[in-house]
Symmetry: C2
């Protein structure tokens, strides 16, 4: 059976030593978020994840959800675990205290997301969807709607969903058919079918609050005529309890490749009562609030699965006795050596380690930037932080999830035949990780978002939020002898990223297909360079700690330096490949006629 231990030492290193998260206490409202408080919160989170959620991961995968006549039952133990989650007050962890939240920094929410996805991704999706719905209501709903729904959601008593996709439209939501007909009392009657609704129906909460995209008749055509509605499963009574059943039913649940313990529902709305969130026909704007947060959350799923897959691959590599080291027996008194003696096994482990530890820094950093743009008193700092988050969101979503799948696959590979057997649990990580590349905007859509929206936005202003500080840090590092080994190759890769940016921007202006053709290579380069930057940051801290004697953790810091070296030597050169591919342009893709495929 797979194991999981929340990597609190690693997390503390990132928060306290690399990102200086104690600076968050200087933001208004976060005065109490001291390292000590955060440490005790994370210790409780680790207990929940290790003791309650992880033990249900494999059983949930095998059992799946059950559907009967519109009712969905989650796997054995999920309801009890969810109750503990609610008791612990986890749903409101980083939510506005005015509506029942605990008001801790979003950064901590990002850590919690990683832990929960490592322990049980299918479970984590239930509160994750609620979180997204809470954000959208908080940002766009009327005060009345907020008061009615948010406290119940922040406590975890009620859950939420995002209802976007229809059978004939996923990426292209302008094709949507669901209708919202205005009523005299100001409400709307919603009719239509939504598919792929995660956590659309289940037995964990007393009410389920659907955020639904629909078209008000006679509005603008296409995406500009889409509005957002809140549609509860049970209409709240005057005293705020679930009342009459609304006209929304789960028609069936999907049979999927993975995340079996999360109910993926077909939701039928039949004259369901809903209330407009935000302005009419501006639903996409509200939806993007939810979706951007969700995209970052999905990126953290990639990280979370990568972490747990790595932990299990490592345990197996130390334990499995098979063959001999090429350089001579390491265990001469036993029948064979553990497979961790083999270079290629180490290569896979180091790739997993280099990805997950680098991605953790970037992921938490994004969390801190969200805290900055929500709380910082200086508008300029807020703007810069918001720009950075907007820019990096598609990279976090796509690169983290592509790599999460790759790490899960490589970790499974280390188990040989056992990796293919369900009982061992490694195949679940691959199957669960797979969805993260698809939902919340397939990864190719993220790449288009990066080159088509984020790159040109405000004449490249978003890009400068990344390029300028990285340039400065690289220049400073190049002047330090101990850092040149790392900063040197990274500087070259950074140059390639800048060159690629110029080419894509220039070519894409005249011929959008050229930007499209370059997009996935470009995003991958961006991801690799970003991770390299994070490793440079970690090396700097580790070297400084080692110079001071290592604080009793010399081995830990030394491992950081070695892993950074591995990243620069073995992973960063992929930039060269992607750069060449990108520079060759889109002609070889676009020249084929449809019939020639």
């Amino acid at each position: 059976m797979p194991v999981y231990k929340a990597p609190l030492d690693e997390i503390n290193f990132v928060l306290n030593d690399v990102l200086n998260a104690q600076s968050l206490t200087q933001l208004p409202g976060y005065q109490d978020a001291t390292p000590d408080l955060i440490q005790s919160v994370l210790e409780e989170a680790a207990k929940l994840c290790e003791n309650e959620l992880q033990p249900l991961n494999r059983s949930g995968h095998e059992e799946g959800c059950h559907y009967e006549n519109g009712v969905v039952r989650t796997p054995k133990g999920f309801k009890q675990a969810y109750d503990k989650y609610v008791e612990g007050g986890w749903q409101g962890l980083s939510f506005d205290p005015e509506y029942g939240g605990q008001g801790l920094p979003h950064t901590i929410g990002f850590v919690m997301e990683e832990l929960m996805c490592s322990a049980n991704m299918a479970f984590a999706m239930y509160p994750g969807l609620t979180h997204g719905a809470m954000n959208a209501l908080h940002a766009h709903a009327s005060e009345e709607l907020k008061q009615r729904y948010l406290p119940k959601m922040a406590s975890g008593e009620w859950s939420g969903t995002m209802c976007l996709t229809e059978p004939h439209c996923g990426t292209d939501l302008g094709l949507m058919k669901t209708k919202a007909v205005p009523q005299e009392d100001g409400s709307f009657k919603i009719t239509g079918t939504k598919i792929f609704i995660s956590a659309g129906e289940h037995d964990l909460t007393k009410n389920i609050i659907h955020l639904v995209l629909a078209k008000i008749p006679d509005g603008p055509a296409g995406i500009k005529g889409v509005s957002l509605f809140v549609v509860p499963k049970f209409l709240p009574t005057e005293d705020g309890e679930p009342g009459m059943r609304n006209g929304v039913m789960c028609g069936s649940i999907e049979h999927k490749m993975g995340i079996n313990a999360n109910a993926t529902c077909v939701m039928n709305f039949d004259d369901a009562t809903g209330w407009l969130v935000g302005e009419p026909h501006k639903g996409m704007r509200a939806m993007f609030t939810m979706m951007n947060a969700a995209r970052l959350g999905v990126g953290m799923q990639g990280l979370g699965i990568g972490v747990v897959a790595y932990q299990n691959a490592l345990a197996y590599a130390k334990d499995r006795i098979q063959g001999r080291a090429l350089s001579g027996a390491k265990n001469p008194d036993k029948a064979a050596d553990p497979i961790i003696v083999h270079p290629d096994v180490r290569k896979n482990l180091l790739q997993a380690k280099a990805f997950t530890e680098g991605a953790r820094v970037l992921g938490y950093w994004v969390g801190m930037m969200i805290d900055m743009y929500e709380k910082h008193p200086d508008a300029k700092v807020r703007q810069e932080a918001e720009d950075f988050v907007a820019l990096i969101t598609p990279v976090v979503k796509a690169y983290f999830t592509d790599m999460g799948y790759e790490v899960a696959t490589n970790s499974q590979q280390m188990y040989g035949g056992h990796g293919y057997i369900r009982e061992w649990g490694m195949e679940q990580f691959v199957r669960d990780a797979r969805i993260a590349m698809i939902y919340e905007g397939a990864n190719a859509i993220q790449a288009l978002d990066l080159v088509g929206r984020k790159m040109p936005q405000n004449m490249g202003r978003l890009l400068r939020r990344f390029f300028h500080p990285m340039q400065a840090e690289l220049e400073q590092s190049m002047s330090e002898a101990g850092l040149v080994e790392f900063a040197g190759p990274l500087y070259k890769a950074f140059g390639k990223l800048q060159q690629a940016t110029a080419v894509v921007a220039q070519k894409g202006m005249a011929r959008p297909d050229e930007a499209g053709a370059a997009s996935t290579d470009y995003l991958r380069i961006f991801g690799l360079v970003s991770l390299g930057w994070m490793w440079l940051k970690m090396v700097k801290v580790a070297q400084a700690k080692l110079a001071e004697g290592g604080d009793g953790k010399a081995d830990f810091y030394d491992a950081k330096v070695k892993t950074a070296r591995f990243f620069m030597e073995k992973m960063l050169p992929e930039v060269e490949f992607r750069f060449r591919s990108l520079m060759s342009g889109g002609k070889s893709m676009m020249d084929m006629s449809v019939e020639q495929f």
Copy 2:
């Protein structure tokens, strides 16, 4: 539901135009294997695969195999389909006529392997295992054993297995515990447990012939004390019919990530009667006969899955209406454009096309080389062909299966959310493809075989069988203006392969860990360069055909030229990445202490 159409036009192009398979008729015994005969055989094969095997692929995945008290039932329809397979005489297609085979070239067997794996990989494994067992018996068993078993196996009435792995030993078979105690009548009593036995027990055939590795007591320790035995489920009577039940039982079947319709069995041998195949303690040699053929077969599974995944991704990309082309609407009278207008969708399709079509040439070429070394009158030609096959086997196994999984994953990705839903069938391709990277020697083991065994063998003689003809073809191509565009980048990549070879050979001699550290990068470079070579061959044929007017198929040949261009521009540059990674050496992997991971 997924579709499959045997790509006979593509296959004929490869056999007749690229590889000149009609030359096989000059080999003794293959006089009748004319293009016409082969064409009619392949048309029948296509019917079997399209009409009988493919329709059972998804239902077999969903239903899986059933186990009760040692008895295994295959999914609904499998027995009927297998009977048709037997009626058609397919099992003996390329087998020795002396033992009931039809004596067609192995090349045709390779084509059949591709078609069957595209249609239904889990089904294809039943006859595939029989095929492997037949080869081992044919090469190593006594005439008496051959007469007893081979005709029944060549007809498909009886099936076969390979019993190698035990719970504590997979890659390292020297650790094996299964014992074979000699009896007075010359037979042996076999006792032990084997796991991961594909097709170990099922209801398709009247008898199952297990080829079992075991140790004769008091033999040499480790791998040098392993012998091969034939152990039938039912002991054949004098008249060759299945008689008394032997002491071999299926203890359970595994629950797996995929290939659900193939029974993966735990086999318990309890004083089972067996007969020695070949010499005592030389079992590994005999096993390698079986395993090398099996490794090529597994490589063809990677190709087969890639082909069917591509076909379905293409169908969806043409059919799915979503969004607009970046360069302006292509379908202005409809609500949206088909997704094949998007550059990145085309990139995924072209990658799948470039891999599968290139791999098909290489795969069939290996089939022809096997025919050469079995049949050619000139010993020198035989030796050269055998060398080539030995060298390229690990590349075909590992590179084809890594790419099969990648193509299946990318093809699934094109379906968006639907790709994750079981009903659509794309997730099965990913799950089935996954095993091919693991079994018959995990892909990292293939890489070690390439750098550790094949590279140094006979002072690099095997490598010269690849390097010399490729060098000659590249030089000749560089002198033709129309080919420089393709041969130029390939020549550079080939140079990198040669340079990498020299470095690995030199460093690996002094420090074997350096060869191990380089192995997977090296194999990948080898795969990419091999595929590039195949594309150069195809371009030459296509250009010549186009120069003659295209023979009514100008579009087909033009697509070959365009796909070759895509390969050189978008896929071959990966060599640059892998080369840099390889050249950085193994230090960054080996420097970490076990505790630092």
